[in-house]
């Protein structure tokens, strides 16, 4: 590179950095992003739906191969669930009677805002509801099956960015559904872990992790994921388990923001 060319390159680089710094310092970058999200929303929505349909088609072809095996597996699970259901109905009846007797009201339902996913980048998703719809930073986002996706991280006029539970900065308290074993769910990039569980407690494979409301970040009882593998070591006082989140971006189009 000639000196004049070097100078030109340096000038471009410095002015670009200054311009970008100014955009971030004045919060104008948020306005720019909001504008482009609004402008590209129809195309983005179409692309998201097309991606979902096309990948769904390929997934279906792959799925067909293991359909027979899956079917018999599901039949046995169904039998098990039916017998559990009978037991639960009895418990429900008993519970209702007890509630009446003690005068306990049912927990107030969540106020939900229906939203659609239109984009994703790393461990963040873009949804089509924003400040105008009453979305606030920090609100939890769940699926129709009450599986936790994450929390609102950034709010624009008509859009919001949701930090998924797999994100490095996502940390919240949770517990194992079958027992009162408490721990912390931590995102580690593309994977999610249930950690800070004392070695004396037993974590089993396929245990279901749900949110606990100790830290006040998420309401209690939301589904988080299922234990995939457990890591134990004699040299550390805590154990951790890798979990498979129930929330899967490929199978989700509609989400709910809990207000």
């Amino acid at each position: 590179m000639k000196p004049s060319s070097k100078l030109k390159t340096a000038a471009i680089l410095i002015s670009t950095i200054c311009f970008l710094a100014l955009l971030n310092l004045t919060d104008f970058s948020k306005e720019i992003r909001g504008f482009f999200y609004s402008a590209s929303y129809p195309v983005q929505k179409y692309l998201w739906e097309s991606g979902s349909n096309i990948s769904g088609f390929f997934d279906f072809i792959i799925y067909l191969k293991s359909l027979e095996e899956k079917n018999s597996e599901l039949l046995s699970v169904n039998q098990k669930l039916l017998s559990e259901n009978v037991g639960l109905r009895e418990l429900k009846k008993e519970n209702e009677i007890l509630r009446k007797a003690f005068g306990i009201g049912l927990q107030k339902d969540f106020h939900l805002i229906l939203t659609e996913v239109i984009g994703k980048d790393q461990d963040f998703i873009l949804i089509n509801k924003g400040e105008k719809d009453g979305v606030l930073k920090g609100l939890p986002v769940i699926t129709a099956e009450k599986a936790l996706c994450g929390k609102v991280d950034e709010v624009y006029n008509n859009f919001s960015k949701v930090m998924l539970i797999s994100n490095n900065n996502s940390v919240f308290d949770a517990k194992i559904q079958r027992d009162e074993i408490y721990g912390v769910v931590e995102g580690k990039g593309n994977s999610t872990y249930f950690s800070f569980v004392p070695q004396v407690q037993e974590i089993k494979k396929e245990d279901i992790i749900i949110t606990a409301s100790l830290g006040g970040i998420f309401p209690a009882g939301l589904l988080v994921g299922q234990v995939k593998s457990v890591k134990r070591s004699d040299v550390i006082s805590f154990q951790e388990a890798e979990i498979e989140p129930f929330f899967n971006i490929k199978n989700t189009e509609n989400l709910f923001i809990i207000k």
């Binding site: 670009t16 720019i32 992003r33 195309v43 692309l47 984009g119 960015k161």
Partner: protein, 161 residues
């Protein structure tokens, strides 16, 4: 020149949209190909050393990526500019342009870009995202990059601005 830059800007914007909304469904082990990075690397690799089209393309491409990125606005732009500067510097030491030199420059450039993103994210958000997914993404990009190299070699008249 303005016409070609406008075409480039629209192209990058469309691909950012495509990457963040469509290609997400076709990730391999969590890695999604970065067509914009591939295109900028190829463009900088083939451009005339005296030209600055690579840097201008890096700015346009970076801004497009920044719009749909979860990182601080501008991080992709700066990372892409520095990647292009690396390619320009590396080109000075190349005796000839062939697929082997492209192969090595591509790998280094893709790693530099992803490494810079991870470093900037760590500095600005205290979040460290340098995972093994980057390795898969580089391989994914490299395969598409080689296809792009073959295609570009036959069609590089576009760069003669």
């Amino acid at each position: 020149m303005i016409k070609k830059l406008s075409i480039l800007a629209i192209f990058f914007y469309a691909f950012s949209l495509f990457q963040s909304s469509f290609l997400i469904y076709f990730s391999i082990l969590g890695a999604v190909p970065n067509f914009i990075l591939i295109f900028v690397i190829i463009l900088s690799f083939f451009e005339n050393r005296r030209e600055n089209i690579g840097i201008i393309a890096a700015i346009l491409a970076g801004l497009s990526l920044d719009i749909f990125s979860s990182l601080v606005f501008g991080v992709n732009t700066v990372a892409l500019i520095l990647t292009v500067l690396f390619i320009k510097k590396a080109r000075c030491y190349l005796k000839e342009i062939n697929i082997l030199s492209f192969f090595f420059i591509f790998i280094f450039s893709a790693f530099i870009f992803n490494f810079l993103l991870a470093v900037f994210d760590f500095i600005l958000n205290l979040s460290f995202n340098l995972t093994n997914v980057i390795l898969i993404e580089v391989v994914y990009d490299l395969i598409l990059g080689i296809v792009g190299y073959i295609f570009f070699k036959k069609w590089n008249s576009f760069l003669k601005i």
